[in-house]
Symmetry: C2
Subunit: 163 residues, 2 copies
DNA sequence: CACTCAACTTTCAAAATGCAACCAGCTACG
DNA sequence: CGTAGCTGGTTGCATTTTGAAAGTTGAGTG
């Protein structure tokens, strides 16, 4: 039985996860976004087996998250660079990193600190509400059905938030 | 050969993914955070097989992202509620949703719109820099080694951002 | 008494993963 | 000149994990 696909859930989270939800994919994207772009580098840093890495990279190129570029001839070597679509995964990766920092950081502190290249300072990115501008804390976010919602989703509406 | 663990990478992203990086785990967390908290509901909505769902829920409870609570006796039924640690995955889920909205939304528009419960309006959450307060756009974020960085990570420093 | 529900558990074939070995083109070293 | 090493993979095979369906347990329903 092939892996069960996440289609037909009419859910953007499921759609996103059907591209990057596999065990290794986000780890590979982390590497590329951090600047490790060559096959051997990614293999070393993630520890993924080469056949799996080859499969995932091909899949990421196919879906337009990465682009394969000749990096040097003699010796022939390639690099995988993030497209806009791949770059736009940054918020996901950063959010994961912050969660990891919070709950699994080494005693010494976080291994990496994000820097805002525009202002040049440590960024500690946080989600803000586009309406009131305030920081959004855990549990302060709900959802309502959007224009693309299915009848069932509209019926379910905003599911109850029991404590 | 068991699935290769993501340990010893000294990376918070890898640490996070070793808990929630499996194919179904974030989808299950989505359900719980959206208010679907019972076994049968999650099974129906995600389409996951029941043995897998049982495994994942047990693992999430073990690692403190969920708590199993008796929801009603007669008939005996349970619900899985997010702990603080689970709730703090919200930024990850929202970031995935926004990425999915951007690149895989149905023609009609996004299926769900996030609402900021504090101000009561649509939230469209965005990452802001804690230093300058500006919105952080794609590619405007870099990293530097933090206090917990390994020697190798310090040596690598901020990897080159080739275009 | 048959039937349903809820939350699982068990069974077992089909896929996916992981390891190791190999390949082909090039280069660097002695 | 021979050999070893790097790069970016491919191939083969054993082990694990997944998925589908069926079974379980305990209680409630008509």
């Amino acid at each position: 039985m092939p892996y069960r696909p996440f289609i037909d859930q009419n859910c953007s989270i499921a759609a996103a996860l059907s591209l990057v939800g596999e065990r290794w994919t986000l780890l590979i994207m982390r590497d590329v976004l951090l600047g490790r772009r060559r096959f051997a580098d990614i293999k070393r840093s993630t520890g993924v087996a080469s056949n799996i890495l080859a499969d995932r990279l091909e899949m990421l190129v196919e879906h337009g998250l990465l682009q394969r570029r000749l990096y040097s001839e003699h010796p022939e070597s390639y690099e995988y660079v993030a497209t806009r679509k791949g770059l736009d995964l940054n918020p996901v990766i950063i959010a994961l990193m912050q969660w990891g920092d919070q709950y699994s950081a080494p005693q010494a502190g976080p291994p990496r600190i994000p820097v805002h290249t525009v202002c040049g300072h440590d960024a500690h990115p946080q989600m803000h509400c586009s309406h009131c501008g305030e920081v959004i804390a855990s549990g302060e976010l709900n959802v309502r059905p959007g224009p693309g919602a299915s009848q069932k989703q509209i019926y379910e509406g905003v599911l109850p938030k029991r404590s």
